[in-house]
């Protein structure tokens, strides 16, 4: 049984604009479920989902878990600490074991680029990539896009700049592909040492200075800067990074327009983003978190079944036929 998205959600790069819109549209009614007193519908009752987290991530894991539970799925969390993963079990063995346990879906977070694809190629269960190395983090990209769409409506022609460590960011890649597919203009900005070589071939603008990005953009998606980058010699210091590339109140005040501020979290306040910006009136950082649950519910729901042809969705509301 193939869903409208195919078996898995591994990346936004291979999706069509229609598939992305389908996920976003499906997320809309799910937003409402989280507002109910009883935040639960039986759509995935009896489905078993494993959340396989080889990297710690409180936020993404909790978001997925809420999404699963609100759809009534049975979930098991496997964190890398204390599991056989730590004992040197290979990913392929993990895959075989999951397959043997007849799991319906696997949500995987892994430090290696391509790990989700690796798993998806080897098991029949639906696989959702919750972040693989520095490759993609499709549900994060989708929730960022949903948040932008909530604010802007149609994203065609909207100018969105991704700021920071694009080189090591799976969030950046998913955002770039997803936004471009919906017709947005996308730019990246950061020290050249933290931009991937060949980034201009993605069809994005590149700003060397954050002031230029602010001058241009209608929204900034500010990436987390990891401490290890300094240790690995990509930038001299966090202090200098904040001075040169930090999103500060002072810089934004000089912008020709109000700029929407997104951040995939967790934030380093005072490094890539100042607190008064993160907590300021144009920040939609908490909307992102709320939308995260709705988007993940939509993805889980769509992958759980459904008909292959998108066109069918239109026909499904044909008159009278009781469902």
């Amino acid at each position: 049984m193939t869903s409208a998205l195919g078996k898995d959600l591994l990346a936004l790069e291979p999706l069509t604009p229609e598939q992305i819109r389908l996920i976003l549209d499906t997320a809309e009614p799910f937003k409402e479920i989280s507002e109910r007193a009883i935040k639960k519908v039986p759509a995935l009752r009896g489905k078993t989902i494993v959340n396989l987290f080889f990297e710690s991530s409180t936020r993404t894991r909790i978001s997925f878990e809420f999404a699963e539970k609100r759809l009534s799925a049975d979930t098991v969390n496997v964190a890398s600490v204390g599991s056989s993963v730590q004992k040197g079990e290979t990913l392929v063995d993990t895959a075989r074991n999951l397959e043997a346990m007849r799991i319906d879906m696997v949500v995987i977070r892994h430090g290696a680029s391509g790990a989700a694809r690796f798993l998806a190629d080897r098991i029949e269960s639906n696989v959702i990539n919750a972040g693989d190395g520095t490759h993609e983090h499709p549900t994060q990209g989708l929730l960022d896009i949903l948040t932008l769409r909530d604010h802007f409506g149609d994203l065609a022609g909207r100018r969105i700049c991704i700021v920071g460590d694009v080189l090591h960011s799976r969030v950046a890649r998913s955002n770039i592909w997803g936004l471009k597919k919906l017709g947005a203009e996308v730019a990246v900005c950061g020290p050249k040492s933290l931009l991937p070589w060949g980034i201009d071939e993605f069809g994005v603008k590149v700003f060397k200075r954050v002031e230029e990005a602010i001058e241009w953009a209608e929204a900034l998606n500010v990436l987390r800067l990891q401490l290890e980058r300094m240790q690995a010699g990509y930038i001299p210091s966090l202090r200098e990074y904040n001075r040169v590339f930090g999103i500060t109140h002072e810089r934004l005040d000089r912008a020709p327009r109000d700029i929407l501020i997104l951040h995939p979290g967790p934030m380093n306040r005072g490094v890539e983003i100042d607190s008064d910006v993160a907590d300021g009136p144009h920040s939609v950082i908490l909307n992102q978190v709320t939308n995260g649950v709705a988007v993940r519910m939509a993805v889980l729901y769509l992958l759980a079944g459904g008909r292959p042809e998108l066109a069918e969705s239109a026909k499904a509301s044909a008159p009278g036929a009781e469902r």
Binding site: A112, S113, G114, F118, P196, W197, G198
Partner: protein, 431 residues
């Protein structure tokens, strides 16, 4: 060893660039030597007659770069399985890289490989000794002792020679023994952590890239050191258009630099990595279309001297893992000939005499090895191959223990039919 029968190779297209020969004729092999060459030789009493009509008869192919994993990883490959795989691929001789466990960095270790090669009685196996003790890049290994035991070159392959001083010393010291110093060109701080070519594809996949400059910086360093020392530097597995330019620059100035290219760098680009396919993970990495074009042209015009496989077998499930953690390399002995025929000869980039030159004549000459010629009296190492034979790559049928190849399922043309070493047929293609 029992005395081999005479062999008459009858009616094949005989190509021997060392003698400028390309004609349909007969070759008679006797007592491990080429006895005679000419039309209608007729079979002597008791001779085995091999009908070579429609086939190409060439001096035996020589692979100057392969990893046979013995000693240390006999589960992955042994000298014997590697030598048999080589014979099946049409190679009459291979040079085994010293990155074994322990490293082949001394006389005894070289002798061991020689003995294992003789026992295998398939393709000849020539050991390559390490440049530095333990391939640690510090103290020079005993070149003289190793050459005395049968080593034909030195290399720290698998690792680059990081120290320019050590490389210089090796190039100087090796001259006493007239052996090439082979370098694996990789600037380690640029290549660190990389698992594929740095470019659009690595940016897309979120994999750390190895820039072309990681190779080219070492290529020019080695060329300049060869110029300074007058030593013979041989550059392993060239992968970039920039390297080709630098080698051309060196050769134009008469610097003693030679270079090799693998069949995979001649036929595949980074696009093969697109689905995180670990069978396309090599070091140096697969590069771009422009690089492949430049390498093909360089092989054609002789800037790159020869084709070498960099045959790198791995345990069958070693590549069943995350891309960044999977080992580099593929097996190559049994697909090399067909890839060169299918991708270069059939596409009109090189002709068969050039193929023979790059796979037999030049390797023999540059590494001072027996073979590489069918002149009367030369060693009877001969490869007979069918240039039109179509076959589908099926790794389960490899004689190598390694199965890791990105070419599985590909339909190729060109296959060894008889591989003859010292006048003995060591491989016959089963119908």
């Amino acid at each position: 060893m029992t005395e081999a029968r005479d062999i008459l190779l009858s009616g094949g297209r005989v190509i021997d660039p060392s003698a400028g020969r390309d004609e349909t004729t007969d070759v008679l092999l006797r007592d491990g030597k080429v006895e005679a060459i000419g039309r209608s030789l007729g079979a002597p009493e008791g001779a085995e007659v091999l009908d070579c009509s429609g086939l190409l008869v060439s001096p035996g192919f020589i692979d100057v770069h392969c990893h046979l994993r013995e000693p240390g990883r006999e589960d992955v490959e042994t000298v014997a399985t590697g030598a048999r795989a080589a014979a099946a691929g049409g190679f009459t001789a291979v040079c085994a890289m010293p990155n074994t466990e322990p490293v082949t960095d001394n006389q005894a270790a070289v002798g061991f490989i020689i003995r294992q090669g003789l026992r295998a009685a398939a393709a000849r196996v020539y050991p390559i000794g390490a440049i530095s003790v333990g391939q640690r890049g510090e103290a020079l290994a005993e070149f003289g002792e190793m050459v005395g035991a049968g080593a034909v070159a030195v290399s720290d392959d698998g690792k680059p020679v990081v120290s320019a001083h050590l490389m210089r010393t090796a190039l100087e010291y090796a001259q006493a023994f007239d052996i090439p110093v082979i370098d694996h060109c990789e600037e380690p701080t640029l290549a660190k952590g990389g698992s594929m070519n740095e470019g659009m594809m690595s940016a897309r996949l979120g994999l750390r890239g190895i820039p072309a400059e990681a190779e080219e910086i070492m290529v020019i360093r080695d060329i300049l050191l060869a110029r300074r020392t007058g030593g013979h530097v041989h550059l392993a597995h060239m992968s970039t258009a920039g390297s080709v330019e630098l080698i051309r620059w060196g050769k134009e100035r008469g610097i003693n630099v030679t270079a090799e290219v693998t069949p995979h760098h001649l036929t595949l680009t980074e696009a093969a990595v697109g689905g995180f396919d670990t069978s396309a993970k090599m070091n140096p990495p697969l590069r771009t279309e422009a690089d492949v074009e430049a390498l093909r042209e360089a092989l054609r015009d002789g800037t790159i001297d020869l084709v070498a496989t960099d045959h790198a077998p791995h345990h069958y499930d070693a590549k069943e893992r995350e891309f960044a953690d999977a080992p580099f390399g593929i097996v190559g002995l049994e697909t090399a000939l067909a890839l060169v025929v299918t991708e270069l000869v059939e596409k009109g980039i090189i002709d068969f005499p050039t193929l023979v030159d790059r796979m037999s004549t030049r390797p023999a000459k540059l590494f001072h090895l027996e073979g590489g010629s069918l002149a009367q009296g030369s060693t009877a190492d001969v490869t007979v191959f069918d240039p039109a034979r179509e076959w589908v790559v099926d790794p389960s049928k490899f004689l190598s223990k390694g199965r890791n190849t990105p070419y599985a399922g590909d339909q190729l043309r060109g296959r060894a039919v008889y591989t003859i070493v010292g006048g003995r047929v060591v491989f016959r293609l089963e119908e």
